[in-house]
Symmetry: D2
Amino acid sequence: MVDADPPDHGPSDWLHTWIGSTAPDRITVAGRDLPGEIMGQLSLTELAFLLVTRREPTAGERRILDAVLVSLADHGLTPSALAARLTYTGAPEAIQGAVAAGLLGAGSVFLGPAGDTAHFLADALQEHGGQGTDDAALRLIAESAIEARRQAGALVPGLGHPVHRTQDPRVPRLYALAAEEGTLGPHLRLLERVAEVYEESTSKHLPINGAGAAGAALADVGVPPGSVRGFVLIARTAGLVGQLAEEAQQPIGRQLAYEVEHRASGESGSAPR
Amino acid sequence: MVDADPPDHGPSDWLHTWIGSTAPDRITVAGRDLPGEIMGQLSLTELAFLLVTRREPTAGERRILDAVLVSLADHGLTPSALAARLTYTGAPEAIQGAVAAGLLGAGSVFLGPAGDTAHFLADALQEHGGQGTDDAALRLIAESAIEARRQAGALVPGLGHPVHRTQDPRVPRLYALAAEEGTLGPHLRLLERVAEVYEESTSKHLPINGAGAAGAALADVGVPPGSVRGFVLIARTAGLVGQLAEEAQQPIGRQLAYEVEHRASGESGSAPR
Amino acid sequence: MVDADPPDHGPSDWLHTWIGSTAPDRITVAGRDLPGEIMGQLSLTELAFLLVTRREPTAGERRILDAVLVSLADHGLTPSALAARLTYTGAPEAIQGAVAAGLLGAGSVFLGPAGDTAHFLADALQEHGGQGTDDAALRLIAESAIEARRQAGALVPGLGHPVHRTQDPRVPRLYALAAEEGTLGPHLRLLERVAEVYEESTSKHLPINGAGAAGAALADVGVPPGSVRGFVLIARTAGLVGQLAEEAQQPIGRQLAYEVEHRASGESGSAPR
Amino acid sequence: MVDADPPDHGPSDWLHTWIGSTAPDRITVAGRDLPGEIMGQLSLTELAFLLVTRREPTAGERRILDAVLVSLADHGLTPSALAARLTYTGAPEAIQGAVAAGLLGAGSVFLGPAGDTAHFLADALQEHGGQGTDDAALRLIAESAIEARRQAGALVPGLGHPVHRTQDPRVPRLYALAAEEGTLGPHLRLLERVAEVYEESTSKHLPINGAGAAGAALADVGVPPGSVRGFVLIARTAGLVGQLAEEAQQPIGRQLAYEVEHRASGESGSAPR
C-alpha cells in the first residue's frame, strides 16, 4: 500500500455532497426540494439516473433504463436469491441483512459482467475515438479490442452465457427497444460488431449476453461505466425483496440447508442449525 | 431454540418459486415472459410491487409508490451513506460491499421505523376492524393502540423526528398526493388520528415523521407491512448508488477517517489504514 | 422514531476510543503497545476478551473461551455456510463479501440464541439476586423466569434443538470443562435448573442446547450478554474462512444453485447466472 | 461471461464437505469429534489453521499465527471501525450487520494488501524456484519481480504506509518473532530483499508495511495466499466486536454523522436520520 501524503486536516471544504441534505424545515436531494420538486414528479428510476448523471433522463432514456433494470431484477433461484433466502432463515427479523447477502454475490462472475462490458466498450471507443462510429469504424475498433484481450489472455466481456447458448432472450428485445427510443448508440452497436468479429475469427458462436447488452444500453443513455454495477444492484434489490416476501410465506431456506446437510453427511436426521 | 420437527426430506414439492425462472430460450418473471411482457412495459417500481403483491399497481398507486421511494432514497450524509462511503474507501473494486454496508444500517433506529409503523397501524386496524374506519372509529382505534403502547412502555411508531420537530416536510406532501390519487386509506388516516390523540393526551407535539407516513402510504396501496422495509431498501439502494458515484469523484471517506483518528488520538500525522 | 435532542456540536470530547489508535511510530491497542505488549504475548482469543472486558482472561477462562469459540465455529453445511459459499460463487475476488454474507444469518433463529440465553439468565439472576445462588435459590429463580416467559407467550431460551433431541453433545463437555477450570458459575448452573424445571412442569424433555450453554459459559467467565453474539461472530468467521478455502478448491455453490433452479423450474438445462 | 458447460445434474458426489457435519448424537469438525477432540484441546486460532491447511500448527507456528492475528485486529477509528459503528447506530439489534459492514471494507486498499503480498511473494518464489532461496537467489527473484511490476505499471505490494513512513512498528517485531520460532522462511526473507532492491533502484525508502509482513509471515507458516485475507477477516472481527462493545457504552456514530451532516450542509440543527 503505497500512498500519497495523508490528507491535510484543515477546514472542511472537502466535506460536502450534492446528493442530499437535511435541515429542520427542508430536505434537499439533487439540489431540489424533495417534497416539492421530486415527490410526485420523478420515479425512482429517474431519481437514480439524476443522482448519478446529474440530469433527468428523457422519456426514451427512462424507458430504456427501466427495461434494463427489470431485465436484471430476478432470474429465479440464482446463487444471489438463495444466499438471501438462507440468510433470512437465520435472521428473519433483519431483512436488510438478507438483502445485503443477496447483493454481495454481484461480483466478477454474476451480475458484475454488465459493468465490465460497459468499461470494455467505453475504453475501446475512447482509445479509437478518432475513427468515427460508423459500422466500418466500429468493426476496426472491435478487431483491435478483441485482439488486445486475446493477447492479454482475457475473455471478451459481454459474450456467452452458460444457459442461453444460442441467444439470450433479453438481448434482441433490448436492441429493439433502444432502436425504438433512439438510444441505439455506439456501445450497443460496438457490442454487435464485437460478437460478429469474435465469431468470424474463432468460428465459435458466443451470443451477446443479457448482462453485456444491459451494460452497453446503460452506457448509451449516459450511465458512466463505473455506475453500471450500481444500477444492477438497484435492480437486484427489487428482485430480492420479492424473493424474501415469498420466503416469508413459502420458505425454502431451512429445508434446502437441511437436505444439503443430509446429503453431504450421508446421515439420516441431520439438520442445519 | 425450540423447533418443530425437522422438515421431511422427500420429493421437492417445496422447491419452487413464483418470482422467476430461467430456461435456455426463456426467462420468466412473475409468471410472465420477461422480454415480451415486462421489458419496455413495466418500470422497476411497478415490477417491485408486482413481485411483492402479485398484481400490477394502478397509475395512482404507482405514483404513490414512486413518491414514497424517492422520499426515502437519500437524506444527505446519514450514518447509512457514511458507512457506504467508508467501505468504498477500503474496497472500491467491490461496490456491492459498499452498498450492502449502507443497507445494513436500516434497522430499528433508522429506516426500519417505516415498517414498524405499517405493522403498528395494520395490527391496530385488524384488532378493531369491526368498528369501521370513519374518523370516529379511527379515533377510538388510535386511543386503544396508544394506550396499549403506553402500558407496554413502548414508543408510538411514526411520530417524532430528531430534526423535523415541527413538521417533517415530506409528510404533508405525501398526504396531498395520496388524496389526489385516491389512495388516502385507513393507514394514513389512522396515523393522523394517532398524532392527534397523542398530542391531546400528553400535551406534547410529535409530528408524524416521514418514515411513518411512508409506511402508512405503502400499506394503503397494498404493500404488506412485512415488505415495507424491503421497499425502503430498494429506495435506499438508489440513494447509495448516487452517494458512491460521487464518492468515486469527490472522496470523503479517507479524509473523514483520517480526521476522526487524528482527533480521537490527539496525535498529529495519524491516518487510517 | 421519538428521539432525544440532537447531540451538541461542540468540542470533540465524545470522539475517543480505548480500543486502539495509530501514530507514525506507534500502534496502541487496549492501551498497550501493540508490538511490544500484545504481539507474541496474547492469542487472538485473549485479545478479543481483553477488548470487550478490559482485562485479560485467566488461563482457565481462556480455555473456556476457546472451548466455546471452537464449539460455534462450524457445524457443516448450515444456512450460514451455504450463503457464504453461494456468495463466493458470484464474487470470488471479494472474499470479505462471502464471509459477511455468512455472518448475516446469525440472527434470532441461528447463532443468536447464545446471546439470548445469556441475556435471559443474566436478567433472571439480577432480578432475583437477593436470593443467593445455591441450588435451591437457583431453582426458585428458574421457576420465576420460566413462568414469566410462559405468561409472555415466549419460548425459554437455551433449551431444545431440532437435531440433538436427546442431548446436544457439546453441552456435557462444556459443563465438564467449566467444572475442571473452576468457571462453572451461576449462569451455567441456572441453565441446568431451567432445564429441570421446564421438564418437570411440562413433562417435555428439552435438552440444553449448545448455543445456550455457550452463552451461559461466556457469561460465567465475564463476557457481558451484549457481547455474546459478537463472540459467536468471531467463532463463525473462522469456520466460514475454512468453508471458503474449501469452496475455492471443491466448489459446491454453482452446482447447488444449478440443481435448485433445475428442480424448481422443472426444466432441463437451466442453470443459475 | 463465457462459461464451461453447465454442471451435470446427477448424483450428489459433489455435495460434501470436510469442514464439518452434524448428526443427532455427534458433531464432527475437521474430521474430529467436536466435543471430545477439539473443545478443550484447540484454540480458535489453531482450529482456523486446521480448517484451512488440514493440519494442526506447531507451537511455534501457533505463536506466529496469533502474533499476526492480533497485529491486524484493530488500529483505532479506521474506515472499517467507523463503518461498523455507524451501522450499529441504525440497527443496534442486529450486531451481525455492523460486524459485516466493518468487514466489507477489507478490500484492495485496506487489509486486502496482506493477501496481495502473499500472492506476490508466493508467485515470485514459484516462478524462480529453481534458483534456491539463499540471499543471493532471493535478491535475483526480488529484482525480477520488481521489474515485472514496474513494466506492468503496478505497485509493489507490501511496501509503504501512509502513516508509518519510516518504519511500521509491527514489522521488526514480526520478523523477530519469526526468527525466534524458526518460521522466518522464504516469504518473509524475500520481502526484505524486495524492500532493499526497491530502495536501491528507486532511491526511495518504502518500509515494509505491517499488512505485507503479516501476509508473508502467514505464508511462511503454511497459510495458502488465497486464505490470507480470510485470516485478516478473523482478526478484524475480533477488533470490531471490541469496537461495538464500546459503541454500545460510549456511542460515537450518531454524533459523528450529525456533525458531518451539519458541516456538509452548512446548516445549524441538522442531524442524520
